[in-house]
């Protein structure tokens, strides 16, 4: 799994590429929190288009970052979730509590 990010003014977009499971969720969490802490964005977008596998560890990852963003007054959105990522978000009803945007290409 790989995480990259780009900055567009007040928005930071982080891309998660590969498989999200319990084994690599901890590294993903640390990396994403590091990005949020460093950039202090007004808007944090998590691009999940490159997620090839996702289990409930991915839910924990998204919910945890949402909590972190809420506590720092930054708004978080999900961008272009892959089928693997969306199916898991949907089953937990996350599609109703976090904004999911599709089709928009940044940059």
């Amino acid at each position: 799994m790989e995480i990259k990010y780009e900055k567009y003014g007040e928005e930071t977009v982080a891309f998660v590429i590969g498989e999200i499971d319990h084994h690599n969720a901890k590294a993903a969490r640390e990396r994403l929190d590091g990005i949020i802490d460093r950039e202090c964005p007004v808007r944090f977008a998590l691009d999940l288009s490159g997620v090839s596998f996702c289990d409930s560890s991915g839910l924990g990852l998204v919910m945890g970052r949402m909590k972190k963003c809420n506590s720092t007054g930054c708004s978080m959105v999900i961008l272009n979730p892959s089928n693997a990522a969306f199916k898991i978000l949907e089953i937990a009803g996350m599609d109703k509590i976090i904004k999911i945007e599709r089709g928009k290409q940044n940059g």
Partner: protein, 149 residues
């Protein structure tokens, strides 16, 4: 009436998180011989990952000697294309299975578990059975139809 079993597979590995990917890939490869759809294969990978992660995280919680903590997987395919997978650990067991299976229920406080593992296993399969004994371990049996009907 018991259906005829046409193929089976067994594997055993240590309760290390690095084996989660191995476990789901192994079961998915075994199931692939029946030519299931991509969606069915994706569901199988997800539910195996959930059950194996539970054995590693909860079953053997607090254990340092992970190479000595076994996780067992047993798979069978019947003539009509039904896959049965049993994932078993010899860990701490579950006190109240019914409560543990409720959506959002988790005993984990810091690992960012969501409590949705069992809910995902239930909705991505055609059947789930959980048997557990405190101090002895847990076995989760999952059924998934590999063919379209």
């Amino acid at each position: 009436m018991a259906e005829k079993i046409i193929n089976s597979m067994k594997t055993e590995f240590s309760a290390k998180s690095v084996n989660e990917a191995f476990a789901r890939t192994a079961v998915a490869s075994f199931a692939a011989q029946f030519d299931p759809s991509i969606a069915v294969i994706a569901d199988i990978k997800t539910v195996i990952s959930e059950a194996v992660t539970n054995a590693i995280v909860h079953g053997y919680a607090g254990r340092e000697d992970r190479e000595a903590c076994p996780v067992y997987i047993q798979c069978k395919i019947t003539e009509s294309g039904k896959l049965t997978v049993r994932i078993k650990d010899k860990g701490r067991g579950i006190e109240d299975v019914e409560t543990a299976m409720q959506p959002l229920y988790t005993t984990d406080s810091e690992g960012e578990r969501s409590g949705m593992g069992f809910t995902i296993m239930q909705s991505f399969t055609d059947g789930i059975k959980v048997s557990s004994k405190l101090g002895k371990g847990t076995a989760v049996t999952l059924e998934k139809r590999l063919t379209g009907r």
